[in-house]
Amino acid sequence: MTDATAAAAPTARSTMTVSDEVAIQISKMNKWYGEFHVLRDINLTVNRGERIVICGPSGSGKSTLIRCINRLEEHQAGKIVVDGTELTSDLKNIDTIRKEVGMCFQHFNLFPHLTILENCTLAPIWVRKTPRREAEETAMHFLEKVKIPDQAHKYPGQLSGGQQQRVAIARSLCMKPRIMLFDEPTSALDPEMIKEVLDTMISLAEEGMTMLCVTHEMGFARQVANRVIFMDQGQIVEQNEPEEFFLNPRSDRTKLFLSQILGH
């Protein structure tokens, strides 16, 4: 995106390692909304420690794909295995997977009736059965990490968009997830807030978190992603390392998309 981030790219990425262990395995996955075929034959293997950026035109099924991974949407055919647990309609499996997979939304979706601290401690206390004291310590640790410990006792409505999104990230991290999903985390934010959220995500990547991120922040993709996936009309059209992806896109659709998104 900017020269600064592009220049920093190789160094930042070189510190991150990818293991051979498989975190997410999606094979021949299909999904329909009624008659509408949203996802067609998706095959995707994500190893632990991978940072994957998913991009593509609006309506191509990016959100649907990552929402299938924690069962916010149900797939109709094919197989999704997360952390060794297959996603079926078995509620126990779904619960297991949701505990391991954190998610950040475009519109933050903080709980407005709870304070920032309560937002962060709620799931650890009620889902993981962590004692309140311990949950609060963990929450403060992550709030410090996203650099807003001083807002802990405010309500979400009193924070800026960027701060809210960082709280949302901290809230997910409090569950100590092994995989993080991001659905356009910066696209509802003003430019100066985008940076603070991206910085948070970059430091998360540097710590080795497995991340799947739907975003159009190409600077971010260059800097942290080890793989960029391009989707169109419910299919994975192309995937490659960021350098290759941006310099030598193979399909015409990717070229067209990149020229549109990088053009202005």
Binding site: N109, L110, P112, H113, W126, G157
Partner: protein, 379 residues
């Protein structure tokens, strides 16, 4: 700054002139009147008419209710004599009847020597409600709240060593409060369950809830009360007949929980989908996400509607007079039939209306306080 300006700008004032006060027509009372009372010709005419009505009506009402009123007398004719002796001409309020029948209005035909029991129950009701209404009070008080319904039942109906009192003796405001408060307290959880059931994915549960809500809402409360007073007995084996008050309480609860369900469903629908998704993605199961995330917000949104339903139910308790229960309105008939007081009308209804108004007004105020307290944005 001013140096710079003196070089570039032709004239700059050397000192700041304090602002003058706005002209009289834009100030204080005059401004308020202009804006609120006489903002247009039509508004001005309405203001004048309203003022005339108030000027004529209020003194007349005060005259009737206070200045000319008779406060204690043994009968209506005695009332008239006292009024005539005071030189009153025209209508006057004979509050003496309320004075004389006060206990009946409050308790119906509850035995006089046992009146301390409902009074104690009434006082304890506030103790029981306090920790529920005001969260800052100590949590252990909620144990008393939970025990209160049994305690109140024991105090009012007796048993276990206390002299039993029959349901037919219970009336007046005591009865209105028994039906109203029980209905209000029970209809909220029922309403929540019905609203959740109606939104459920489980076909069977959903159907039951929809049918229940639509049926109960589509039927006048009076019919349900008649069902309670007559038909319901056929459904119970002989000898196990439920107490009439209990049957009425059940009907009133069912009736208002159907309304409550729809009010709460509105609150549920008003929540953004993202709240459900965030709760799901954190791994909260259905009941936890409802209890911790969805319902607190949905109920908060629904407060005006919920209180509206409460107030409606409380006033609807007067309908039980139709099936012969002696609630405050039902109490009026036997008192008017008494030859001593035959001929009085207004005093009864004014008194009963004031009682209901006081309670409903408190509920409305409390709901405004609660809404303000639960507001978590921009403060």
């Amino acid at each position: 700054m001013s140096d710079l300006h003196s070089n570039t700008v032709a004239f700059v004032a050397g000192s700041q002139i304090p602002p003058s006060p706005p002209p009289a027509k834009d100030r204080g009372a005059v401004k308020w009147l202009r804006e609120n009372m006489f903002s247009s010709v039509a508004n001005g005419i309405l203001t004048v008419i309203a003022a005339l009505v108030i000027i004529t009506a209020v003194p007349a009402i005060l005259q009737w209710a206070f200045i000319d009123a008779v406060w204690s007398a043994g009968s209506l004719s005695e009332c008239r004599e006292i009024a005539a002796a005071n030189g009153v001409e025209g209508a006057f309020a004979c509050w003496a009847v309320i004075n004389e029948r006060f206990n009946q209005f409050l308790f119906g035909f509850y035995p006089n020597e046992l009146l301390w029991r409902p009074v104690l129950a009434f006082v304890l009701m506030f103790v029981a409600m306090a920790p529920v209404l005001f969260r800052s009070l100590p949590k252990p008080m909620l144990w008393f709240s939970a025990a209160y319904p049994f305690l109140a039942y024991f105090l009012i109906w007796g048993g276990l060593g206390l002299e039993p009192v029959e349901s037919s003796k219970i009336g007046g405001f005591l009865l209105a409060l028994i039906i109203g408060v029980t209905g209000i307290v029970a209809s909220l959880p029922f309403g929540v369950l019905l609203a959740l059931g109606r939104k459920s994915d489980l076909f069977f549960i959903k159907t039951i809830c929809v049918v229940f809500i639509e049926f109960i809402r589509g039927v006048p409360l009076i019919t349900l009360l008649f069902v309670a007073s007559s038909v319901l007995n056929y459904f119970f084996p002989p000898g196990t007949a439920l107490d009439l008050i209990l049957r009425v309480v059940i009907m009133a609860t069912l009736f208002s929980s159907a309304y409550m369900a729809e009010v709460i469903r509105g609150g549920l629908a008003a929540l953004p989908q993202g709240q459900y998704e965030a709760a799901d993605s954190l791994g909260l199961d259905y009941w936890k996400s409802m209890r911790l995330i969805i319902l607190p917000q949905a109920l908060k949104i629904s407060i005006p509607g919920i209180v509206n339903t409460f107030i409606g139910l409380f006033k609807d308790t007067t309908l039980v007079s139709v099936i012969g229960l002696l609630d405050p309105v039902g109490m009026i008939t036997p008192i008017r039939a008494d030859s001593n007081w035959n001929g009085l009308v207004w005093e009864f209804y004014v008194f009963v209306a004031l009682f209901f108004f006081a309670f409903c007004f408190c509920m409305s105020r409390y709901s405004m306080y609660l809404e303000k307290k639960l507001k978590t944005d921009n403060h």
